[in-house]
Amino acid sequence: MPREVREVVFVDGVRTPFGKAGGMYAETRADDLVIRCIRELMRRNPQLPPERVDEVAIAATTQIGDQGLTIGRTAALLAGLPKTVPGYAIDRMCAGAMTAVTNVAGGIAMGAYDIAIAGGVEHMGRHPMGEGVDPNPRILAEKLVDPSALVMGATAENLHDRLPDITKERVDRYGLNSQLKTAKAYADGKLQGDLVPVALRDAEQGWGLATVDEAPRETSLEKLATLKTPFRPHGRVTAGNAAGLNDGATAALLADEATARELGLPVAMRMVSFGYVGVEPEIMGYGPIPSTEKALKKAGLTIDDIGLFELNEAFAVQVLAFLDHYGIAEDDPRVNPWGGAIAIGHPLASSGVRLMTQLARHFAEHPEVRYGLTAMCIGIGMGGTVIWENPNWKGADK
């Protein structure tokens, strides 16, 4: 049957403050983090009747225990959404939440959903990377990929090998800048609006409230230079130029644009295109470059049309590879204006929606910008990119 593709809009996004693995969320359940996000979305958008939510897609990389049990469905129930609202769990490692967004966007565009919630959670304290994995022995026996492909830090070192222009000094400087930008964004009150306060409890200290990210730190180039390179002796990747191990959750409301307008929901971003691409798993950090090419091509845009970038900072080398490829300066103000995962943290499957939520805030502040993109590298050699249009954009003159 003939039908029109419908416009998909990003209505609103929230996240928990991100914790350090073993830190403030040590005694908090992963599902409770994502439940808080879903409830906050509903609280912030009271004009949305809960029964109008058609889908709840929640990503987690390690779907075990409190991240298992089809977390999209169980979190929806526990968040108090009506039992009629379905949900599912989804996994594409670091791009879990991004994939949740693009999946439900596909459903919205073809008319299967009017409203959906997409998000992700990763409690890396409770579920360390690699928990319960059982790689097929053929990977080694048939040399399908280099064993280093399964260790993300090692793939970042591999990327350094391929791109010798990206030096240790450059990645450290990038890491420092990320911290400085995040500190400034906090000082200017830019990040607080995205955060959902989370009640915390531990036996020693009693109840508390998480209201800020735990990972950002003060540092300097001198200090960064002294950090260990855990993935390779005399290597380049350190805790200072890579995202840490974090706990956190995100969620966003996606909608068919007409439905959003009918219900009076805000329209923060309009989805233009998206692309996922596989690359050599040994250099997974390269992934966002071809995925961006793909998304740009589908949108009929070029990199020059993009006015704002939210790039996931799994590793500084991987961001610099992207910027170098496109000839963008590493301190370009369009890129990660409020810092990134190196400072804020990267609870794997949750991060995609954080990028989008922040891009939405930038859009609101920058009506002169028409297009922005969110991109991230993904384990086992993939990249993902989503291009968004700013509904606040008021015409061609910049």
Partner: protein, 687 residues
Amino acid sequence: MTIEHPNEVVTKAIVRLVAVPGLDRQAALITLDNGFDYKKPNSFGPAGLASLDAAITEATAAEPAFIAITGKPYIFCVGADITGIPFLTSREQALELGELGHRVFVRLKNSTIPTFAFINGAALGGGLEVALHCHYRTVSTGATALGLPEVAIGLVPGWGGSQLLPNLIGAPGAAQVILQNPLTQKVLRPKQARELGVADEIFEAADFLESSLLWAAGVVGGKTTVERPEVDKDMWDGVLFFAKQQLDEKLHGAVPSANKALELLALAKEATFEDGTAAETEALADLIMGDESRASLYAFDLVQRRAKRPVGVPDKALARKVTKVGIIGAGLMASQLALLFARRLQVPVVLTDLDQARVDKGVGYVLGQIDKLASRGRLDEGTAAKLRGLVSGSVDKSVFADADFVIEAVFENLDLKKQIWAELEKIVSPEAILATNTSSLSVTEMAADLEHPERVVGFHFFNPVAVLPLLEIIKGERTDDATVATAFAVGKELKKSSVLVKDAPAFVVNRVLTRFTSEVFKAVDAGTPLDVVDTAFDPLGLPMRPIALLQLVGPAVAHHVGETLHAAFPDRFADSPTLKKIVDAGLPLLVDDEINPEVVKLATGGSAPLTTDEVRGKALEALAEEIRLMLDEGVVAEAQDIDLCMVLGAGWPMHLGGVTPYLDRSGISEKVTGKRFLPKGVGSLPA
């Protein structure tokens, strides 16, 4: 400090400074946590109060935007640690306990920094009182039990509750929370607490603490205003007058804690907080140093602990699985049992009777009850559908072939029951449990001719079986441990409090109550007017007067049990001619809550009428004698079991401790049997 509680599980008050969005200063959040899970709730003993005192000092010193108190998961605080009360041996100590709580709690009331209670879970007694001292309160939809139940255990809200609550929500609400709810074993649900004004806001459990902290920030920041309706003082006296009338009608002044609570509520109308709380402390000390509260605490402990860990029961590992239940008979009792077994065990339950019409009626009754429960929302539709599928009936006893537990509820006739068991033994497996719901026949005799008498057990319920929590489990002489263990396991699944009883005539509750009734009718036979015997027990505050009790049990049933006991113990259990006349006449005993004048006419004759005091004295002496004999015969393990049975099966009041603490404290046990049932300090003040 002179008061000590050597076994106190200390609830610590932990201070944490938290940043709350919207506030430029941190808030001080105090968590009450005893370090255990919800099964061992937070409570306040002397060390716990000291910890809270220190926490308030620490919190205040931090000059926070506000101070808030909350609990551990599911539990706010369930009040004073009553396990410490037996250690209080002097009035000075009792006064000190009251003063200690007041001294710590009042700091939250007088604080110049705004104080909040975030009632995240159960808040009872002193737990709710600490919240009442705070300037504001929020309550979680997950806080399932809220209240001031002190009166039920012989005390009064003694840490400010009797003064703060009526001035917060008015006298009618306070009378409900402080008097009516405790005396009817009710607590407030969170919604009710909000509606009554006990809490200023209610938030969903999923993010209760987050919502409460943000709300509190709004209140101290002036963004949120808290409005409370003004308390109506004009109706105060009238409400309390009415409450007193109701209490006197039911309890006849027998419950000192209720009277004291009323006095404190009256005082709260005009008294300053200082005077009101000073009166509370005195009242609490009087009650703590009274036998009634000690008996109440003893009974409370029996119901809370002993009922859950029955004494003398074989290892539960011996219990056999019950996957299908058979019920012989389809009359009213049998149908009630079928419903109970189906609901609680959720296994197939099959009823049999002599003809199809009876079977259909029995099954129809069960299905009707299931529909009724479902329509009232007491059963969800899925469970109702499951239960409907579990209950069936037949006229052919072969349906019992694969049942593991068959209970009979047929007419009380030994030969009939023996015949049924003999027939059944040919059908069921040798291990199937054969249970009898007899209220007075010998379980041992019933099993005597069976090939496997070791699987027969008595399963004595109390009417109405869905409501009364007691189950007397009777071990016949040859009943084996696996059978007893299975019976207790089933009893637990039925959510009953089971007590192990030896196979003795009429078991426990019926024997005690029948001896009691027998003495009452001895007095009637001797010429005492019915209304005199009927009011003779008012000073005890029993749940109902003797004639109303007889009406409830049914004169015919009472007479039948009486005959059994008369046959067993003819010198103690008289066969009353007056009772016989009443049974034969078949008249209702009460008309409009008054003794039927026609029945009064039947109770004439006799030439030696007794006074109320004499009737009461003789009946209680008879009880002391009977209970001593029962203990000597080994009917139950200890006096505690008798008291537990009387509280749960006969509804005898907590302030009597069931019965033996009262017999001890009134000197009757020693007068009649030469010794007490319980040592001093157990169910009574320590020596």
